[in-house]
């Protein structure tokens, strides 16, 4: 299963990157050539994701989404580009392509020949262009590979060892994605579906089961989140190697509280949306850094320079050409900014809010340009356009009569009421962010409420002044491992980046200084908002979630601080990179000294054995849907359309009336019973706590939980439920020793299988001694 998971992860990552990086690269490599490599990387990724999401949205709203339409939609830009590029010869070229395809399908062009040709091309690419490209960049390439290896080690360990969903709300996402197969988007109401669109796209086009995607997509997603961070820093830092300091520290440092990174272990929309925050910030900064930016129109070109526009040559060196190029780049930056903003909203509201805060920081940092109307109006238009693009599919669905999803009402209530105690309904994992710090959290909440009452009636500024003293404590509580020193260090580094930004402004490096201040302001605001409950400020997002964004922002702060210092020491000299290497080495020592984080394996919401059985069952029953899993897990969504699921609690409740001789039949050829001998701890928050309580007659002797929904499968209730089913299975097995077979068994889990005759179904209602 571990090997299968590794292969699945590689497959999913390859499919995702092919769609979001390779295809945009193939189409737009010429257009985006002026960008630096990290910016190109971001741009391709933004465009790939944006197109994929909106293609799915469009096809889903038109109810024509299928593999064929998705493939056609994916190929459409290429066909369009080819038609535009070749114009007159397009028909002939298409004919050639179709002829070649015909030859392949008819077997005239053999597979081996095709593979040989492709291999030769790839060989040329690797030995020629790739080698040339890598030659001057090998140190960075080595570092980047090292960072990737670190990420894979830290986060991949969980992926390949924990097969179940690592977050409680993934089953809901699974359910929503499943219904997209029927062109029934927004099945549970309108919700940002960007993440779901991408997963659905990968499922439909590459035929990867949705549950596999949700299991393993976290790793490619987390990898890309970190690579985005690296690319962002690489674009902002002056030294080559300072970006690696922040990323390395973020990946391996043990100073962070587990909740700041635990959510990376699950494929969740909020974390997926984080992919687009930093690109949005970068393209906004890039736009604002363009000093020569003016609105240029080709028609306004001075006489004698029109010809120069059409052919390359020295004429391009003219002022007008520079302006024109700057204007083009500015437009591209704005377009990509709009795309990134759009995607934050398409994926998760929290990411839009955080991207908004980052834009606020950028507004402060680049106030000297941002307040100019020609910058401001374009930024605003781009931002609003991005938001409109994101809202449009949801608005269209709303107009078609779809209601809003419950959590949106909750979010709106939160915003309108200025915060609340409840957690978001479908994303329960966040509500228990405190995890091990539960008792501390209770105290904190009590303090919050008393402070709130005291602060009522005071002015905002006064409240801020009074409340700011709570910020270090809140950062310590939510972001660090209960270390006040680490909290002060984090806050100090935010202050330092602000100070260095101001210094660089004074030293007449406004773009660099502005960037530092932007990051400083953004992080400062986030840290203040972390204490928003105590400050009496409205909670824009759930308070525990700020720590995720603070954790993600701190590597930027640290890298930029060190970069600014190195820049101060070395200025534009090439030795700055040597200094950066030294700083990287020192950072590694410091991280090792302060404590290194080791990979963790979360306590998943389905046991590994259950997932293993599920995978085997799906494999064995390929093409056959006459099987049922009776379990406490949500295999119903995982096996959607491939088999059936019977709720364990329903099954047991029917057994209660055994004296009335009920008939409980499950009309499929095979029935599987998943029994946890050591019931898993189905806790709301992500955790690493291992269950150790075994099922027992004592548990079976207790009455079945009367609660509804998922509650019979949580905590004590799960133990009772599992005890009941275990003793039911034993009693049934006594009656049917040859028919009820052990399908898979470990010390903590056992799966039983009953094969039935469709014309003579077993009556599963028996007296197992604990019916009532």
């Amino acid at each position: 299963m571990t090997m299968l998971t590794i292969l699945q992860t590689i497959g999913v990552a390859a499919a995702y990157l092919a769609v979001t990086l390779v295809l945009p690269w193939a189409l737009l490599r010429g257009k985006l050539k002026p960008f630096r490599l990290p910016a190109r990387f971001m741009a391709y990724f933004m465009i790939g994701n944006f197109y994929c999401m909106n293609l799915v949205y469009l096809l889903q709203l038109l109810h024509i989404s299928s593999r064929l339409t998705l493939l056609l939609g994916t190929l459409a830009p290429f066909i369009g580009a080819a038609a535009f590029q070749w114009k007159k010869s397009f028909g002939a070229r298409m004919g050639q392509c179709l002829e070649r395809l015909r030859m392949i399908f008819e077997g005239q062009l053999g597979r081996r020949t095709l593979m040989l040709r492709l291999g030769k091309r790839i060989g040329k690419l690797s030995s020629g262009w790739l080698g040339e490209w890598l030659a001057p960049r090998w140190p960075e390439a080595v570092l980047a590979v090292g960072i990737v290896a670190l990420i894979l080690y830290i986060y991949g360990t969980n992926t390949i060892h924990v097969f179940g969903y690592c977050s409680s709300d993934m089953v809901v996402h699974n359910y929503w994605i499943n219904h997209m197969e029927n062109n029934n988007i927004f099945v549970d109401g309108i919700y940002p579906f960007g993440f779901h669109c991408v997963i659905y796209y990968l499922h439909e086009v590459f035929a990867i089961p949705t549950y596999v995607l949700l299991r393993v997509f976290a790793l490619p997603q987390t990898l890309m989140i970190h690579l985005m961070l690296l690319a962002f820093l690489r674009l902002l830092c002056k030294a080559k190697y300072t970006p690696y300091i922040g990323v390395m520290a973020y990946v391996v440092s043990g100073v962070f509280y587990q909740y700041t990174y635990f959510r990376y272990y699950a494929a969740l929309p909020q974390e997926y949306g984080m992919l687009f925050i930093l690109p949005a910030a970068y393209f906004a900064i890039a736009f604002l850094q363009e000093k020569n930016f003016v609105s240029v129109d080709k028609k306004e070109a001075p006489k004698g320079q029109e010809e120069g526009l059409k052919r390359p040559g020295r004429a391009f060196g003219g002022l007008f050409k520079r302006k024109l190029r700057a204007a083009r780049e500015a437009k591209r930056n704005l377009a990509l900014f709009a795309i990134a903003i759009s995607m934050t909203l398409t994926v998760h509201f929290y990411d839009t809010i955080v991207a908004g805060l980052l834009c606020l920081g950028i507004g402060v940092g680049f106030a000297f340009r941002c307040l100019r109307w020609r910058y401001l109006k374009r930024l605003m238009v781009a931002g609003v356009t991005g938001i409109l693009i994101a809202v449009l599919p949801m608005a269209a669905a709303y107009a078609m009569g779809k209601p809003l999803q419950g959590s949106l009402y909750w979010g709106m209530n939160m915003l309108s009421s200025g915060g609340g105690e409840e957690s978001e309904p479908e994303e329960k994992s966040g509500s228990g962010a405190d995890g091990n710090k539960e008792s501390n959290g209770t105290e904190s909440t009590a303090m919050e409420s008393s402070e709130k009452k005291a602060s009522q009636g005071e002015g905002l500024w006064r409240k801020l002044q009074k409340g700011l003293v709570y910020v270090p404590g809140e950062v310590k509580y939510y972001v660090t491992n209960d270390s006040m020193d680490a909290a002060w260090f984090m806050l100090g580094s935010v202050g330092a980046v602000l100070a260095l930004g101001a210094l660089w402004l004074i030293l007449r490096r406004p773009d660099y200084g502005g960037t530092l201040i932007s990051v400083g302001v953004y992080m400062g605001v986030l840290c203040i908002l972390q204490a928003s409950a105590k400050l009496g400020l409205p909670q824009l997002i759930e308070v525990s979630r700020y720590s995720v964004y603070i954790g993600y922002g701190l590597p930027i702060v640290w890298s930029l601080c060190l970069d600014a210092l190195l820049y101060l020491l070395f200025w534009e000299k090439r030795t700055i990179n040597a200094g950066a290497v030294a700083a990287l080495a020192a950072a590694c020592v410091a991280v090792a000294y302060t404590g290194v984080r080791s990979p963790v394996c979360l306590s998943a919401y389905e046991s590994n054995e259950a997932m293993l059985c599920l995978t085997n069952i799906l494999r064995e029953n390929r093409g056959n849907t006459s099987w049922t899993i009776c379990s406490a897990n949500d295999e119903q969504q995982m096996t959607w359309g491939k088999g059936y699921h019977y709720e364990l609690i329903e099954f047991l409740r029917k057994q209660e009336s055994v004296k009335e001789q009920p008939v409980i039949t499950i009309p499929t050829d095979t029935v599987y019973f998943f029994v946890e001998k050591v019931p898993i701890l189905y806790l709301d928050y992500l955790n690493t706590i291992r269950p150790d309580r075994k099922i027992s007659p004592e548990g079976a002797g207790m009455p079945l939980p009367k609660v509804k929904g998922i509650l019979p499968y949580i905590g004590e209730e799960r133990w009772v439920t599992m005890s009941h089913i275990y003793y039911w299975v034993q009693a049934f097995r006594e009656m049917y020793p040859n028919e009820m077979e052990v399908y898979y068994e470990t010390d903590a889990f056992v799966c039983y299988r009953v094969r039935q005759d469709a014309y003579n179904l077993y009556n599963f209602a028996i007296d197992y001694g604990y019916n009532e």
Partner: protein, 629 residues
């Protein structure tokens, strides 16, 4: 010009080709010792009646030596069967025959009260086979006795059920049989459904018509197994249904169809209930074997492993009934047999890998003046010899000629044609025992080792010894008429004994009794029968009557003990004079390896084991491994 060397080479080649072409047929004829019956071997070479295993209750001194105790083996408790049935009833005979074949011991009592009174040494048997009429259902004591048997692990097999009123009014009886509800006191079903994995041959539907709207009756629906009218019981929890009737009307849910054979579990023991008289006759033997396989994690028992096709009354060598033959076929009976029947039958049998046993007769009618043709005899013996078919003697005639007279005429003819011929098999049809014993004393039949007889409902042993050295093998039906009843019987016999013996009476071709007996119609019926059974049971060995005889002798002589340690089933076999065959039935397990013999899969969970040595070890493994671990 051709050179001398080339001329010489061409000449040599031509001579060689000519020699090869000419000599093949001559050699084939020369080496075909058709006049000698290849299946004739003296009976002393095979186990005879004295070697036959007899149940403990039937030994003369009332004792039976236990075979060598297996060390550390977990022996399956299947020592003794007690049959509660009237002695004159068929059930006792069936159970006795089954116990003999499966090497169990048996005791019979006329009533449960008699069993209770006898005390029977205080040791409870492996299973109790009961006729419900022999139980006093009103007496609480007898019900308690049955409950006590169940608690001690004794399985109860009810070959018949008590009256519906008893079941309806007595909750304890209902509980005993696992009946949830008596839906109707009597219902008539339109078909049967037999669950796969119970009897060999897989899941089966016996339907009257293709669908309720159809007006055409399906072939086979002329006779159903058991009764079509019986009480409608709905079994409750803890039961497993093996056979159901198919109720009339589309509104009845499948799970509510009336149960015919089912099982009720009591933890350590089962109660098997048979509704609708399914256990009457030889079919009961197969049902008992199938039930026995359901009782344990595995079951191993000896079988005959023989599948015979008897072409009765074929060929006839005289040119008989010429007018009728000319009218129907425009040719003589000799030509019909030679040009129509044999190519047709040989192709059908060959396709399903069956070997023919041709029970020839020189002539059907000994009163006319049409004498058999000796050349025809030589011709048939040659082609039978080439196709490994056996030639036996048909003991019947169309005329009223006494058997002794017929045998004398046949002996005379054979003496004239071949200088005599030794038959090892003899087709006696429904001949009386006395006549048969007398006939076997005739010189012509001295070499006969086995007698093929017609199916007889009153006879409980399909294979047995007729005399010290001669075995009887009964045919299971007329292959020219396929019925569900016959199909069910075949499944039961295959399950219990791995034995199949179907006769095709071809005398009707020469003397048709109606237009339906022309070869055109009969060949279709033959094709259907051979094809159906051939495809359903491909795993068993195809034999001739004499080969079957050898297997029957070994089957009757063999005794065995078995036990299981972990995954290994150990089998100790006694009385081996050659290979013996067993059926191993498992549940979700398959054979990984075997020592002391070989095996092949018959169907899921059923294996045919060929045992060559006294000590056999069969190692099992789960039927399927998980692909991902």
């Amino acid at each position: 010009m051709i050179s001398r060397r080339n001329f010489f080479s061409i000449t040599i080649l031509m001579i060689a080709v000519l020699f090869l072409c000419m000599s093949i047929n001559s050699l084939k004829d020369g080496w075909n010792d058709y006049a000698v019956n290849r299946y004739t071997e003296t009976a002393e070479n095979y186990p005879s009646r004295i070697h036959m295993y007899l149940p403990l209750s039937e030994t003369q001194d009332g004792t039976k030596e236990d075979s060598e105790e297996s060390q550390g083996m977990l022996s399956v408790s299947r020592d003794r069967v007690i049959c509660i049935s009237p002695e004159e009833g068929g059930l006792a005979g069936v159970v006795r025959a089954w116990a003999t074949y499966t090497k169990r011991d048996i005791t019979a009592y006329p009533s449960l009260a008699a069993f209770k009174t006898a005390g029977d040494g205080g040791e409870l048997p492996e299973m109790l086979v009961l006729d419900a009429a022999c139980v006093d259902w009103e007496s609480g004591g007898e019900l308690e006795l049955l409950q006590a048997c169940l608690e001690e692990g004794t399985h109860l097999v009810f070959a018949t059920l008590p009256d519906v009123s008893v079941i309806r009014d007595n909750e304890k009886v209902k509980e005993l049989f696992g009946i949830r509800k008596v839906l109707e006191e009597e219902t008539t079903v339109t078909g049967f459904y037999l669950r796969g994995g119970f009897l060999l041959g897989g899941e089966t539907f016996y339907l009257e018509k293709e669908n309720p709207q159809s007006s055409v009756f399906l072939p086979g629906s002329a006779a159903f197994p058991g009764e079509k009218t019986f009480p409608w019981y709905l079994p409750g929890s803890g039961t497993k249904i093996y056979m159901r009737g198919i109720a009339e009307g589309e509104q009845v849910k499948t799970e509510n169809y009336p149960a015919m054979i089912w099982r009720r579990s009591f933890g350590t023991a089962y109660v098997f209930a048979v509704n609708g008289g399914m256990m009457e006759g030889l079919a009961g033997m197969g049902i008992l074997s199938a039930m026995s396989a359901e009782m344990y994690s595995y079951e191993i028992y000896p079988v005959v492993n023989a599948q015979n096709m008897i072409l009765a009354g074929y060929p006839s060598l005289a040119d008989e009934n010429p007018e009728e033959m000319e009218r129907i076929y425009s040719r003589s009976v000799k030509q019909v047999f030679q040009e129509l029947l044999w190519p047709n039958m040989a192709a059908v049998l060959e396709k399903n890998r069956y070997k023919a046993t041709c029970m020839m007769t020189p002539q059907y009618d000994y009163t006319d003046d049409r004498e058999p043709d000796g050349k025809q005899l030589a011709y048939y013996l040659k082609i039978f010899n080439e196709s490994a078919a056996e030639t036996g003697l048909w003991g019947l005639s169309m005329s009223d000629t006494p058997l002794a007279g017929k045998l004398a005429a046949d002996a005379s003819f054979l003496e004239d044609a071949l200088g005599g011929y030794s038959f090892s098999s003899f087709y006696a049809g429904d001949m009386e025992d006395g006549s048969l014993q007398d006939a076997l004393k005739e010189e012509l039949l001295e070499s006969v080792r086995t007698v093929v007889r017609d199916y007889d409902e009153t006879r409980c042993m399909p294979v047995e010894f007729l005399s010290e050295d001669v075995t009887v093998q009964r045919v299971l039906g007329d292959g020219l008429e396929y019925t569900y009843e016959n199909d069910f019987l075949v499944r039961c016999m295959e399950t219990a004994l791995g034995y199949f013996n179907m006769a095709f009476d071809l005398s009707g071709v020469a003397y048709p009794e109606g237009d339906g007996e022309t070869w055109e119609q009969l060949s279709k019926a033959l094709g259907t029968t051979v094809g159906t059974y051939g495809q359903t049971f491909p795993g068993f060995a195809r034999t001739t009557a004499s080969q079957c005889d050898a297997r029957i002798r070994q089957f009757l002589a063999v005794d065995y003990r078995d036990g299981r340690i972990d995954d290994a089933i150990h089998l100790q076999v006694e009385g081996l004079a050659g290979p013996a065959w067993f059926i191993l039935r498992t549940h979700n397990e398959t054979i990984r390896k075997m020592e002391g013999g070989s095996w092949q899969e018959l169907e899921e969970g059923a294996y045919l084991i060929e045992v060559d040595q006294n000590q056999v070890t069969v190692t099992l493994e789960p039927a399927e491994e998980r692909f991902y671990r």
